[in-house]
């Protein structure tokens, strides 16, 4: 555990690097399933590895929601120090171990047979998970795929703080797919956009006065505003 994932240093919706799994015991457990292609044990939020996976993902995602990039937890609360030698998350008090986040199966059709598949998991804000539910997804905006490039697919209106499909896209079919996913992932969802407006308006105002501040959420939107 070197404790230095790339995602803690700015970047974009953002490509998420999930190669470092702090939840070692879970990783070994799930590797066994994958090795023999066995159906996973039923997924449940009360399963002993639920929190292990959630916190481990938060570490990979830089403490923000994988889709909306709203802040969830600082690095102290999801870093390596929160795991024991076996790679189990060490539950603490309500304050330290409560997160406004949930595990999301990016592709919900995999939930029944491969409910614990690492590649299909993201930690997301509990503000948006309710609306995504079990709707079918398009991998075009899956943040951890090698092909994923937010600059290629997304644009950002800095006056209204709205994500939209990149105006350079010519293919109507791609535009439609991207806009469907923007909607599904809740990138412009009411409270998310409202939080983004309030946070970035202050940061951008200060920036216009040459007062640059470190940014801890909404990295992609911030980056696009600056470009």
């Amino acid at each position: 555990m070197n404790g230095s994932p790339k995602n803690w240093h700015g970047g974009l919706m953002r490509k998420v690097d999930k190669t470092e799994i702090l939840a070692n015991e879970y990783a070994s457990w799930i590797a066994e399933y994958e090795k023999i292609s066995r159906k996973h044990v039923g997924y449940s939020a009360s399963h002993k590895y639920y929190k292990d996976v959630l916190v481990s993902l938060l570490w990979c995602q830089g403490g923000v929601c994988a889709y909306t990039e709203i802040f969830i937890a600082n690095r102290e609360r999801c870093g390596p120090d929160n795991f024991d030698e076996q790679g189990r998350y060490m539950e603490r008090g309500k304050e330290e171990s409560g997160f406004a986040a949930q595990l999301d199966h990016f592709d919900s059709t995999l939930k029944a047979a491969e409910g614990w598949k690492w590649d299909n998991f993201f930690a997301v804000s509990d503000k948006i998970n309710v609306q995504k539910r079990n709707k079918s997804v398009d991998y075009i905006l899956k943040p951890d795929t090698p092909e994923y490039d937010p600059h290629r697919f997304l644009g950002y209106d800095r006056d209204r703080h709205i994500f939209h499909a990149n105006p350079d896209l010519e293919d109507e079919c791609i535009i439609e797919r991207v806009e469907e996913m923007i909607d599904l992932l809740g990138l412009n969802y009411g409270t998310i956009r409202d939080n983004r407006i309030r946070y970035l308006s202050l940061i951008l105002k200060r920036l216009s006065l040459d007062l640059e501040e470190p940014v801890y959420q909404f990295f992609t939107a911030y980056q696009m505003c600056r470009e």
Binding site: G155, I162, D183, D194
Partner: protein, 455 residues
């Protein structure tokens, strides 16, 4: 008396719940009880329970509280900064008075209050169903007109009974609603009766001689001058609200029927009388609430109003809290509402937002960080748009119809970005440019061009 603090150890959804109801530091009324309180929160968070608790403490009558209310405490602020600590323990109300007297004895309590607040109306309480309640009572009496059951002064005089603390409680949730109205409208009815008597005396005097008639008429004029028509004052206060419905209070009497002696009457702005059964629910709501608030002496009175927005169109809602507080400037109001428009009339420390915690218990959402100081409040409904109040105070997650509006905004922003790009490439005049512009304008129109507004 005004309530400055409530503590509920355990009652339904409340557990170790405290409510400080005083102005924060830095406020010109720092430490004083709030003049008005706005209770908001999801259905089931206990707004009406809190109103009932206030009613129980203010009236010093535990029967207003639920029988399962246990260990609830209130601090009431009295004249001169003194405080009474009242505790409800297993259905019994105990008061600790400033003179260190602890009393469960009703006679002692009454004595104490009579000494300090001899003429104070203790409580005025309006349930959300004020119209329905009245209509139900009338249905039981097989009538659709409350005037049939209001009594003239002479009819009232024949009834036995003296004045007590109960006479200073005006609770429109209880069955004595019509009797309550009799008390509220007493001065108006007295005036009408006197006016009628003078009319009759003048007629009789004219039958004797012109001189006698003139003498009595002069007396009549003097009386009119010395005793202004209370309806004039009522009309002055209520007409600004009623005018929004194109209505006004009728100030003159024609004594065409006995009803003229009983209730407030209204006409259209052009003077056509509107009978009670023709009043809209909004009109009833305004008259049935604003009249008692204005007519009664409300100094140090606690006024409870559940859902003041009922049946009122948004433009009326924008001013109704100010209207009520203008009519009773020295009372303490408790409103319970689901309306962002009503909430916009309150200072942030006057809002009690109730929310369910993860443990299922209710807590008060704080609008400040650190010390309770006016400078530390980050949310102030008076500064927000309606959608902002809905999102930041009423916790609505979306700013409009999410299925339509957000998708349209996303698309409109993409088209807007594309138009900028086409312009930069001098391609606006191409077929693609015109098509994009037409599509953008169609969507922007749908979004009422609010899309073009900077957030």
């Amino acid at each position: 008396m005004k309530i400055s603090y409530l503590e509920i150890r355990a009652y339904h959804q409340f557990k170790d719940f405290t409510l400080c109801l005083t102005y924060p530091k830095g406020h010109e009324k720092e430490g004083m009880p709030l003049d008005k309180v706005c209770l908001i929160g999801q259905s089931g968070t206990g707004k009406t329970s809190l109103l009932n608790i206030c009613r129980a403490f203010v009236t010093r009558d535990a029967s207003h509280a639920g029988s399962d209310m246990r260990h609830i405490m209130a601090v009431s602020y009295l004249k001169g900064g003194m405080k009474v600590i009242s505790t409800l323990r297993h259905g019994r109300l105990v008061h600790e008075y400033p003179d260190e007297r602890e009393s469960e004895n009703m006679a002692h309590q009454r004595e104490y209050w009579e000494e300090r607040y001899p003429d104070t109306n203790i409580l005025i309480s309006f349930p959300a169903e004020i119209n329905t309640n009245l209509n139900q009572i009338l249905q039981e009496k097989n009538s659709d007109n409350p005037m049939d059951y209001l009594k003239t002064d002479s009819e009232l005089a024949k009834e036995p009974g003296g004045k007590g603390a109960e006479d200073r409680i005006f609770d429109f949730e209880r069955n004595n609603v019509l009797e309550v109205w009799n008390r509220i409208l007493k001065d108006i009815n007295d005036y009408k009766v006197e006016d009628l008597k003078y009319g009759q005396r003048t007629t009789k005097a004219l039958n004797i001689s012109i001189e006698e008639g003139e003498r009595v008429f002069e007396e009549f004029r003097k009386w009119k001058k010395d005793c202004p028509n209370p309806l004039e004052n009522l009309a002055h206060q209520l007409n600004p609200i009623l005018n929004k419905f194109y209505l006004k209070i009728k100030k003159d009497f024609d004594f065409e029927s006995a009803d003229d002696l009983k209730f407030v009457k209204i006409t259209t702005l052009s003077g056509v009388e509107v009978p009670y059964n023709g009043w809209s629910t909004g009109t009833k709501q305004v008259i049935l609430t604003a009249t008692p608030i204005f007519k009664l002496d409300t100094k140090d009175t606690v006024i409870l109003i559940d859902e003041p927005e009922r049946s009122l169109y948004p433009d009326i809602q924008t001013g109704i809290v100010d209207d009520y507080t203008r009519l009773a400037p020295r009372a303490q109001f408790f409103f319970a509402t689901h309306s962002p428009i009503i909430a916009s009339s309150f200072e942030p420390w006057e809002i009690v937002e109730l929310r369910f915690g993860k443990d299922g218990h209710v807590y008060r959402e704080k609008y400040y960080e650190g010390e309770d100081h006016v400078r530390n409040y980050s949310i102030d409904p008076r500064f927000l748009r309606w959608d902002g109040i809905l999102m930041h105070i009423f916790d609505l997650k979306v700013e409009g119809n999410e299925a339509f509006r957000t998708k349209a905004l996303t698309k409109a922003c993409r088209l807007n970005a594309k138009l900028k790009k086409l312009r930069a490439e001098s391609r606006i005049e191409t077929e693609e440019g015109r098509k994009t512009l037409a599509e953008f304008e169609w969507l922007a129109q749908k979004l009422a061009w609010r899309f073009d507004e900077k957030s």
